[in-house]
Assembly symmetry: C2
Homo-oligomer: 218 residues x 2
């Protein structure tokens, strides 16, 4: 028997929308997957030859890029931030919509004028640098893992680059969205080598592509 496929899903935001899609693809995790007190990291599913691992969003990309997982689901923000050559994102799943945006303190824009050098707090150093380079601005990125919204008020950075959904968190912290860098949605990602050598991976891609088309048509 072949080794089971490893399918990586992210903790948090995208997972709730991804589970119904996985179920329609014939993948239903064992009950322990929903047990919040469990310390398990890897889960059996309704498919004998497929296990789920639940890891942080950035780690989904890392596991798949290195072939430790053959497939996974992750936001296009993560796919674009890493730009791993061995990671292929063939299907836009049409779920997990949000945007990666620049935000700054309300009222700052007019006061600051055009700066040639900025300090920007973000979880996405690569996308942030690339965005500001395209504007001809040299951005020093302060890498934070969360709570980006605190940075401008405490003088850590004059801008942040962060995921925005409703915009409420920004507003609560006196920030306004000034530019959308990337429209984000969740993608099916696969390891390129696994796609070439394991027909089960190619079958997953076809199945999710069909499901995504149904989602769009609905």
């Amino acid at each position: 028997m072949l080794a089971p496929l490893i399918f990586a899903v992210p903790k948090g935001r995208i997972l709730e929308e991804a589970l119904p899609l996985l179920a329609r693809a014939g993948v239903v995790p064992e009950a322990a997957f929903h047990d919040k007190s469990s310390r398990a990291l890897s889960f059996a599913t309704s498919r004998d030859d497929l296990r789920l691992i639940r890891v942080r969003a950035f780690d989904v990309a890392t596991f798949v890029a290195h072939g430790a997982a053959q497939a996974g689901i992750v936001g296009s923000d993560v796919v674009e931030e890493f730009a791993y050559s061995d990671l292929y994102a063939p299907v836009d799943l049409g779920i997990g919509h949000c945007r990666l945006s620049v935000a700054e303190p309300a009222g700052q824009a007019a006061a600051a004028g055009h700066a040639s050098h900025l300090r920007v707090a973000s979880k996405y150093p690569n996308l942030t640098r690339r965005h500001f380079e395209q504007q001809g601005v040299q951005a020093e990125v302060v890498k934070l893992n969360g709570a980006m919204e605190l940075a401008p008020g405490l003088g850590l950075a004059s801008r942040i680059v962060d995921l925005v959904s409703s915009g409420r968190t920004l507003k609560d912290n006196g920030l306004v969205e000034t530019r959308v860098i990337l429209q984000v949605s969740a993608r099916l990602i696969v390891n390129r080598a696994a796609l070439k050598t394991d027909e089960r991976v190619a079958a997953l891609v076809e199945r999710f592509r069909a499901l995504a088309n149904e989602v769009k048509a609905a």
Copy 2:
């Protein structure tokens, strides 16, 4: 009136032990701090001139190193990983004890012999590389943000470097601890410039030093 001091505390492991110590230093956060449904990131305390921010452990160090927070509490693992020149860790608080260790699959050690090149999964790329360099081993570090214990079983790495407390998570995943890199405990950290220019920061250091000595004597 002076701007309030910003004191950064980490989410998770250390916080439960840090709160009683903060209380003995005269710092008790407002009720909202304990409201898990709150989206607030910054909190008033019993001291008019001091606010708490609660952020990820790695970010505590980043806020303090840049002077966006003047002081904070964080594990020595984080202090050592970053080695920020503007961050000073004058007091070992004697809480949050654990260790940073190398672990590998049970039975692998004997089988593998001595390798000159390894792939190691860790949240601590700097400490990991430094440790293996000292052993004359070139370590390629795969940076993960969590779930390190999955890496060896899925072929992502032959070793992991991770925080170990009871060792139960390792055991559950078929791993054995083979080397302790660092004995970890929580530290009071301060921004060097703030320590020189704001006597309230120096007073915090003295207060926590006295408290730590009481903890040791108890």
